[in-house]
């Protein structure tokens, strides 16, 4: 969430009043700053933290870690299997990646330079794979060509490569899908249904008629679900 001063009610707030507002709101949010990643929307106090936020602030939160694990297992597994890593090795590797994430999470800071969580995670995956390759030198990997493998890792390391872009895309879609399911809980089935259909491109009037709700409700459905998802995905997206 960005904190951008918006002209209030169609006219500009006089300069000194504006500064006052700024000072007041910044004092409100500085007390939150060490604890949250959000740069200063005062309503952050009421916003439940996203999964990534929870993991950063409370590394001991077992429930959050379980959710994180079950979120990432299928994605990481799919990626490893794609490169013919043996399933038993894949299991171990995914476990290792998740353990590194657990350990290093407090050090993860999203900034425009270092990049997003998915890039950080990708980096960890590449490191683990390189370690794995080194240790498995004596045994041939399923594809039989460790050189081929190294080329893949090089690509994965380069954030501009096609492979990295593919990883980013798949990662985002996967996370969004999982978190949508979480967000769904907070809405009535009707609202969620309306949201789905708006996203699928249906006409608002048709949706309103089918679901027996007002058009108003349909508009709000889309906007509220997206809003909730944005909150859930905080830390993954900017």
């Amino acid at each position: 969430m960005t904190f951008s001063p918006v002209p209030i009610s169609g006219f500009l707030v006089p300069c000194n009043q504006f500064i006052l507002i700024l000072i007041v709101s910044s004092s409100i949010f500085t007390q939150y700053l060490p604890q949250t990643l959000l740069p200063g929307n005062p309503s952050v106090a009421q916003t439940p933290p996203s999964l990534l936020q929870r993991l950063r602030e409370h590394p001991g939160d077992g429930e959050a870690w379980n959710r994180f694990d079950s979120l990432y297992w299928p994605l990481l597994q799919t990626w490893l299997r794609r490169y013919s890593i043996r399933p038993q090795d894949a299991d171990d590797l995914v476990q290792q990646v998740l353990e590194v994430v657990l350990r290093e999470m407090p050090n993860f800071h999203y900034d425009a330079e270092k990049g997003k969580f998915r890039g950080w995670l990708r980096g960890i995956l590449v490191n683990r794979l390189r370690e794995f390759l080194r240790s498995e030198q004596a045994r041939p990997i399923a594809t039989g060509d460790s050189n081929f493998f190294n080329k893949i890792l090089d690509q994965l390391e380069d954030p501009k490569s096609d492979l990295s872009r593919l990883w980013d895309q798949e990662h985002d879609q996967h996370v969004a899908r999982q978190l949508l399911a979480v967000v769904e809980r907070d809405f009535s089935p009707t609202t969620y249904q309306a949201f789905l259909r708006v996203m699928a491109g249906d006409q608002v009037a048709a949706i309103a008629a089918d679901l027996k709700i007002s058009a108003n409700a349909v508009y709000l459905a889309k906007s509220s679900v997206i809003k909730k998802l944005r909150q859930e995905m905080y830390g993954w997206t900017d």
Binding site: S43, W65, Q173, E184, S188, M199, V204, A217, S223
Partner: protein
């Protein structure tokens, strides 16, 4: 803002609204404006997406494309519940074959519960009501960490409803929704917990009859709880038989229903639940149910008459023993399955160990200790109903010994002893047999001077064909693990195997060409030698390198692997296998080893792990003639 000509919101604000970036008050404002303003409506519809919105759009269209028709369910709240003295309704959760489920709160205790309202049509019949109440009383006896607890059954006016434990988590089908299977450890861990819950119910004389992944809830702590949202018996009494919907309510789910249950619902006993649990395990391990294609009636036929796709072909990394467990759980005839859920739990125990994130059965079974959780109401997942309604089987079950089972201290079993690696893979059917130890070259060498150097067996350097018997008759199904190093020369090592009483060979690096690459495989199949079977040329046993060979023999199947790579699979009747005179030894029922000049091998390990049946060590006379 109710002005008749409200000013249009700035484009920026509209965009922020569309992207969900405004706060609630502002959002309501804009939504209200949009309803009255056609221009702004158009504007909103043509707004671009930001990164998140476009991402969601992609995800939604993919999800919708996969789902069948997304059904909308009614959400009426019966007046009888609106003003209930004890419970305050919080919200609607979902609906299933039997009724609707709400989240509620016990007013005094402030404990969240789930309330399932039994459909009015079902309760109109006085018989049904009586039977339902009897079932509920039976179910209330269940108290187990792996079963969702039923607290109460109540009547409010004409409405009958059940009060149950409220669980946060997701049903197991959500974990494999996208077709990606679960890791073996997790799948086995979850199914094992379900089996333990089923065992508890079985000991109370109850059967579930609707076991499936949708009915197994996974709490955030990694605990599985069985719940139910359909009484197969109830629905058939008041609805048309065979009325199966897409989501599978009705006569149990067509994807997981046991054959005997299809023929006669009421004859189904705990073994039908074991079948369903087996189908569930199949689904968790492969990402799809055993019979994924076809209409509901086609699936019913499949359960009755057809075999599912071989689980090992869908998931080649699966330990052989585990595939056998799934098969046994899914045997068509109940008498061939495990006879009680405890046996299933035991069989799965070695595969469920080692996942240290999840602590098995560690949560208390007392409802009062459970924390407040939210139930996740999946659109496609259907009802998250929480009572585990059982049917009392007509006769006392003669199979399994529930009394004996409950004597075994379950806590001990779960903490577990450190299972050796071999046993973990194959299963605890029998300890591995060290075949090398059984060999005495003085007695057992048929051709060539085989000898031991310390604990390692060295193949001969003299002669052309060298053969050594192992005085051991293997069990019906087994796995041999060997560690072999090529010391000298090209050419083959062979292992003499027995399958269904027939002797045949597994050959490695035979008939090498000038480049040293040979053929490996099984010999003879349909009287064909390996070299005539058009197998690829490669070198399996490299010079100076210790290679691990793995040969698995099961009824109608042989799998040959080297260093984790699959070399050959044979599936079929062992009658097709044979051995030429050239390769044979006088004893026709034992395992043996062989090599061909100029190759010399060092064998440092040769273990046999039984999968089924019993092997036999023989005391044989030494060969007199050579």
């Amino acid at each position: 803002m109710t002005k008749t000509t409200a000013p249009h919101p700035a484009a920026e604000r509209l965009t922020s609204f569309s992207w969900g970036k405004l706060d609630d008050a502002e959002s309501s404002e804009i939504a209200a404006h949009l309803v009255t303003c056609a221009d702004c409506q158009k504007a909103v519809e043509t707004l671009p997406d930001d990164a998140l919105v476009s991402l969601v759009r992609k995800v939604v269209t993919k999800t919708l494309a996969k789902a069948s028709t997304v059904t909308l369910v009614e959400s009426w709240i019966p007046t009888e519940l609106l003003a209930h003295p004890r419970y305050r309704l919080v919200r609607w959760l979902g609906a299933g074959g039997m009724g609707v489920v709400y989240q509620a709160e016990h007013r005094l205790m402030e404990r969240p519960v789930a309330i399932k309202i039994i459909s009015k049509t079902l309760t109109d019949n006085a018989n049904t009501v009586a039977r339902f109440q009897k079932e509920v009383k039976a179910a209330a006896k269940l108290s187990h960490p792996n079963i969702v607890t039923a607290y109460d059954a109540e009547q409010a006016g004409d409405l009958h409803f059940l009060v149950m434990e409220f669980i946060e988590g997701k049903s197991l089908n959500r974990l494999v929704e996208d077709g990606v299977p679960l890791p073996v450890k997790l799948a086995c861990k979850y199914v094992r917990q379900a089996a333990l819950g089923l065992q508890h119910a079985f000991e109370q004389g109850l059967v579930h009859r609707d076991i499936k992944p949708q009915n197994l809830m996974l709490t955030p702590k990694g605990q599985v709880k069985i719940l139910d949202f359909g009484l197969a018996g109830f629905v058939t009494e008041s609805g048309p038989v065979g009325s199966l919907t897409e989501s599978g309510q009705g006569l149990g789910t067509p994807d997981y229903i046991a054959p005997e249950q299809i023929r006669d619902t009421h004859s189904a006993d705990i073994r039908a639940d074991i079948y369903s649990l087996g189908c569930t395990l199949y689904c968790l391990l492969t990402g799809q149910p055993p019979f994924p294609d076809g209409s509901a009636s086609q699936k019913l036929v499949a359960h009755l008459e057809r075999m599912p796709k071989d689980i090992s072909s869908l998931r080649p990394d699966l330990p052989v023993e585990l595939a056998l467990i799934v098969e046994r759980m899914m045997e068509k005839r109940p008498a061939h399955r495990y006879q009680n859920p405890f046996e299933v739990a035991e069989a799965l125990a070695p595969f469920a160990k080692g996942d240290d994130k999840v602590r098995p059965g560690s949560n208390s079974s007392h409802p009062s200790k459970l924390k407040a959780y939210l139930i996740c109401a999946g659109v496609l997942g259907g009802v998250i109903g929480c009572i585990f309604l059982f049917d009392l089987p007509g006769k006392l079950s003669p199979f399994g010994k529930p009394q004996q089972a409950s004597v075994v201290p379950k806590e001990e079993k779960e903490k577990g002893v450190e299972v050796p690696k071999e046993a973990k893979e194959i299963g605890v059917v029998g300890p591995p047999v060290d075949l090398l130890q059984l060999i005495n070259p003085a007695k057992d060498a048929w051709k060539g001077d085989w000898k031991f150097q310390g604990r390692a067996l060295i193949s001969p350097t003299d002669g052309v064909l060298r053969l050594l018997r192992i005085p051991y008759i293997p069990p019906a199904e087994y796995r041999i693990r060997m560690e072999v190093k090529r010391l000298q020369g090209d050419n083959l090592l062979c292992v003499g195997l027995i399958g269904d009483g027939r002797q045949f060979l597994a050959i490695f690096d035979g008939w090498p060409e000038k480049d040293g690459l040979g053929v490996s495989g099984l010999h003879l199949i349909d009287k064909k030698q390996v070299v005539d079977q058009e197998s690829p040329r490669r070198q399996v046993l490299a010079m100076g390198k210790t290679t691990e060979l793995l040969i698995t023999v099961r009824k109608s199947e042989v799998i040959v692997e080297a260093d984790g790579k699959l070399l050959q699979t044979f599936k079929g009747d062992f009658n097709r296998m044979s051995l030429e005179e050239y390769w044979s030894i006088p004893n026709k029922d034992v395992l043996f080893l062989g090599s061909h000049t100029p190759a010399v091998f060092q064998i440092t390990k040769m273990d046999l792990t039984p999968i089924s049946g019993q092997g036999k060590v023989l005391a044989l006379q030494p060969f007199t003639a050579k």
